[in-house]
Amino acid sequence: MRDAVLVMTKDLRLEWRSKVGIGQVLPFSLLVVLLFAFALDPERGVLDRVTSGLFWVVVLFSSVLMIERAFSVEAADGIFDALRLSGLAPAAIYAGKVAALAVQLLAVEAVLAVAVAVFYDTTFRTPVLTVGVALVATVGIAAAGAVYGALAARLRSGTTLLPLLLLPLLAPVLIGATRGFEVALGREAGPGWPWVALLGIFAVVYLTLGALLFRPLLEDA
């Protein structure tokens, strides 16, 4: 636990100093929000209907960039070796990376939500459901993403491979989060919580697997 906090603090401090998330990933995600408006004529009400889908697609793409960054930092200058020598428990390193990733992703999502509200004229009718969906979906993305980020960092040409590996795996998250948001936006009737439950199962399953698989990944790959 102490080790996980150490790794998370280190990662957030690293982000604070390098500003890659704020300076690069966030502007990129806002840019995509604008690009969608160009691609889908805003006058015809298409944007309005596809808002939640666009939101989560942008989040997924941003998460790929963030995960790539989070692990290229660890792959640089022999740091992977140093981590193996460090005495930190692999599961603790994993937990720290997931936590730092989730915090950064949530920050991006918060800004994106404001942007969508302003540019696409969206109102989130049930804030509790909105936050619930975002929180659980984000943990799921970070949980699976940290494993794939770590293994892609060990591969030559891993950077280009990461989206191919990660995005199909995140398909259930995209479905669950988008449907959950539809309900939260009042576009779709019906309870939103089953979607949160589905996202929650995804998050729990991959957190467990990640904690178990990070040891062989760190020590033997």
């Binding site: 080790d3 150490l6 280190k10 401090r13 690293l14 100093r17 390098s18 930092v73 640089a76 200058d77 022999g78 740091i79 070796d81 140093a82 193996r84 020598l85 460090s86 005495g87 930190l88 020590e219």
Partner: protein, 238 residues
């Protein structure tokens, strides 16, 4: 005599290249041993095997009583490795880096500060991001991060490279001090004049094997400086 390192016919493959092709080496606890040999001889791989980072595919390999063939990850937290890489996060400051690695190893933040002082890293540098430092300064910082962990076995790969005279003196002093308090030091160097003074014993690594017989106490004479340079092998040092 209790052995810190015990290798018998150890083979380590990088892919399918035998970087170590049956090495024999015994190092007693508290000993300072210099590894000497041409580029590509397997010195770096030998150090990485002792750190538990490179796998031993056959033979016997024990470090500090840990069987590396079976449990090589168990040795890692007890050794300190200084390689060609600095193991530092570029965007973090000097103290943030040293604090992180010290605390990761269970040491105190104060240990890190003391180590930085020992390495004579000026305190005006402490709050600068590592990427603004010169190569020599970075080397001192990464040495400090290693020292702060208080390893039982020091594995130094070209520790003198990139350092000025005072930096080299500091490192030699630290190596002697470490040995005097019971740590074992295994280091590879091409700075033979300097290294011979520090080392209790020199062994020669050639072709992925250790040429000097195990426990061969008297150090070898320095080779003729006029000898032809060795042909470059596959760069396992890289």
């Amino acid at each position: 005599m209790e052995l810190a390192v015990h290798l018998r016919d150890a083979v380590a493959l990088l892919g399918r290249f035998p970087a170590l092709a049956g090495a024999d080496l015994d190092v007693a606890r508290g000993e300072v041993v210099l590894l000497r040999g041409p580029n590509g001889a397997g010195k770096t791989t030998l150090l990485r095997v002792c750190a538990g980072l490179a796998a031993v595919s056959s033979g016997v390999a024990e470090v500090l009583g840990v069987d590396l063939v079976r449990h090589r990850s168990a040795i890692r937290r007890r050794v300190g490795l200084l390689g060609h890489a600095t193991y530092l996060y570029d965007d973090l400051t000097v103290t943030e880096n040293v604090d992180f690695w010290a605390r990761a190893a269970g040491a105190e933040v104060a240990d890190g500060r003391r180590a930085l002082d020992r390495l004579e890293v000026a305190s005006r540098l402490h709050d600068l991001p590592v990427h603004t430092l010169s190569a020599g300064q970075r080397r001192r910082v990464s040495f400090a991060a290693m020292v702060a962990r208080r390893p039982e076995l020091w594995l130094l790969d070209e520790p003198h490279a990139g350092l000025d005279a005072s930096g080299r003196d500091i490192i030699d002093g630290l190596v002697r001090e470490a040995a005097s308090v019971g740590a074992t030091v295994l280091f590879a160097s091409h700075e033979l004049d300097r290294a011979d003074d520090v080392a209790d014993r020199t062994v020669e690594v050639v072709g992925g094997t250790v040429v000097t017989a195990p426990q061969d106490a008297p150090p070898l004479d320095a080779p003729s400086p006029l000898a032809a340079p060795p042909s470059e092998g596959v760069a396992s040092d890289a």
